[in-house]
Structure formats: C-alpha cells, structure tokens
C-alpha cells in the first residue's frame, strides 16, 4: 500500500516535449518526427508515436517517410498528448492500474478548461482512445449541473436560439433548470 503513494513520474523527460529544432541527434531508439500545423517539430519515440492510430496507419501506408505532418494539430495540445502517451507506455510495460488511474486523474486536474477542450479534437484525430475517454469524462465532470451560460462559455459556443425559443425550452423542462452548481 505505502509503495503506491508516489506520484507518477513526470520529471526529467518532460523537457523533451518542448518543440525542438529540426536537427536530429543520434538516439538509441528509433525516433519519429511529428510536425504540427504551426510548424513545430516533435521527435517522439516510435513506441509513443504508434499509440496514435492515425500516425501508425500513416507509416503503414508510406513507410519511407521521416516526418509525419499533422495539419489539424497545433503544438500545445500535441505536446500534452505526447506527455500523456509517454506515461501510458510506461504503464503498458509495467501495469499498475491504481497508479495509472491516479496519473490520469492528475493529468486532467491540472489542465485548464481550454487545454482540455483543445486536446479533445487532437485525441480524436490521432485516435487515442484511452486519452479521449479520460478527456471526455473530465469535461463532463466540469460541466455537470452547471448553468447553460457556463456551458456555453466553457466551449465557446454562441447561443443561436432566439430569446423566445430559449425561454420556451426552459419553461418546458423547468424542473431540470432548478438549482445549478456555482460556477
């Protein structure tokens, strides 16, 4: 019991996550280069890149490529997604459900609302199911029982109902609008 209280290791390796210059340094394990839509270069270990189903199938289709362009993905969410996948690889090698759960919980807790919302399309595009599950649940937890206005601003959604339409909806299901959690 006591041995499992250490927080997940997020220490030295995170430095590798920052965008690196386009120069290759020799490393023992095979690296794969990912290029974000804002032209940032990420070098990740092959095992990490293969967690991204989209990248994996890209390599299966064109094995000779050295750089995978990710036109729909910007650098910041991509770096966070890579961070997550690196940890998941460790849990794959060394299964520890309790630690994994703890890591996943901490991973989302420390993220801002915007970070979470920005990561979701990335996880979806790269087809990282575990991460998508974690993110979807985290977002659901954050909007649960919140006011309509809060949910709109959370996702940056414009209200396209007329005032009358919205009032009618609220009247119709008034019981569901009684009492919301504080923002």
């Amino acid at each position: 019991m006591s041995s499992s209280t250490d927080s997940p290791t997020l220490t030295t390796e995170t430095t590798q996550l920052s965008p690196q210059p386009d120069t290759e340094t020799a490393k023992p394990t095979k690296k794969i280069t990912l290029k974000s839509s804002d032209n940032q270069i990420f070098e990740v270990e092959e095992s990490v890149a293969m967690e991204f189903a989209t990248v994996k199938s890209f390599f299966e289709d064109s094995p000779s490529t050295d750089t995978v362009p990710l036109p729909n993905v910007t650098a910041k969410p991509l770096s966070q997604v890579i961070e997550f996948c690196k940890e998941q690889i460790k849990f794959k090698a060394n299964p520890d459900e309790a630690q994994k759960k703890k890591y996943n919980a901490e991973f989302v807790t420390e993220k801002s609302d915007k970070d979470l919302v920005d990561m979701i399309p990335v996880a979806n595009y790269l087809e990282i199911k575990d991460l998508l599950d974690v993110l979807n649940q985290a977002v659901a937890d954050r909007i649960e029982n919140k006011s309509v206005e809060y949910v709109r601003s959370f996702f940056g959604i414009d209200n396209d109902f007329t005032a009358e339409e919205e009032a009618a909806l609220r009247r119709e299901h008034a019981w569901a609008y009684e009492g919301v959690d504080e923002d």
């Binding site: 399309p121 979806n124 979807n136 949910v151 996702f155 209200n159 909806l169 609008y177």
Partner: protein, 146 residues
C-alpha cells in the same frame, strides 16, 4: 472562440452527463438540441424530451429522487407489470467521491428478468441497493402472476 467540437465527440461527452444536466444542455445551442433529441441519442440514453413519452416521465422522476432510491410504485402504475420497467438508481462512486447517476433499465419479458445495462460501467457499481431493487421486482412479479 474555440471551434465547436465534432458532433461525434460532443455526443460522447453529453452521454456522460446526468439527465438533468443533459436537458439543460439542450438549450445551449440548436445543434446540441438536435443532438440530444435525436433518436440515436435517446435510444442510447433512454430519455425523451417529449412529454408524452414514458421516458420523459422517468427522467423527471429521477430528478425528484436525487440521491435516493426511487420508489418503484409510480413506475409500476405508469407501465403496468407487463411492460418495461425503468428503474433509476442513484449511487455514488465512493472512491472518487463523485455522485453520479446510474440508469438501469430493468426489463421484464415473460418471467425472464433481464438487466439491460447502458453504456456505462454499471456492473462495477452494482450495489446492495440494486440487489434489493431486483429482489423487490422479482417478488412483485411473482405475486402478480401466481
């Protein structure tokens, strides 16, 4: 403004909300309204926005029964013994200290009691309460048909 999330992703998020929150979400914007009121969504989540639909009634009952086990009586009155019984159970994820609603559809067909579990990981949370509900239903079912 962030881009709207893909509908398919948004659906995944909305499916994780309790019914009360879900109904609030229908007035966020038109596309969410269409999403939640779509047939596909309703069949997954077993709710209805149509007041004439029995599913609407049960979602309303759920709200009134917050954090308590609902009396099955109104549901029996509503559907009769021969038809589908929806039983809403509130339980808590004690480990995460998050209260969450579990929706369990209990379907009685013939004498067969089938537990239909929606997409959630309900099995893990099959609590003592739940067992009591099942026993109660079995008891009522048996007394009705004997």
């Amino acid at each position: 403004m962030t881009d709207y999330l893909l509908e398919v992703v948004m659906q995944e998020i909305l499916l994780r909300l309790p019914i009360e929150s879900l109904i609030k979400c229908t007035s966020v914007c038109m596309s969410w309204y269409s999403l939640v009121s779509s047939t596909a969504f309703i069949s997954i989540r077993s709710i209805s926005l149509d007041k004439d639909d029995p599913f609407y009634l049960t979602s309303h009952l759920l709200k009134r029964g917050r954090r308590t086990l609902l009396s099955l009586e109104p549901v029996f009155v509503c559907f009769g013994m021969q038809s589908i019984i929806h039983c809403f159970v509130q339980t808590s994820f004690s480990s995460e200290q998050i209260h969450r609603q579990l929706l369990v559809d209990l379907v009685l067909r013939g004498k067969q009691l089938t537990l239909l579990v929606p997409l959630w990981k309900v099995w893990c949370y099959l609590t003592k309460q739940m067992q009591q509900v099942m026993e109660m239903i079995q008891m009522l079912w048996n007394s009705d048909t004997d």
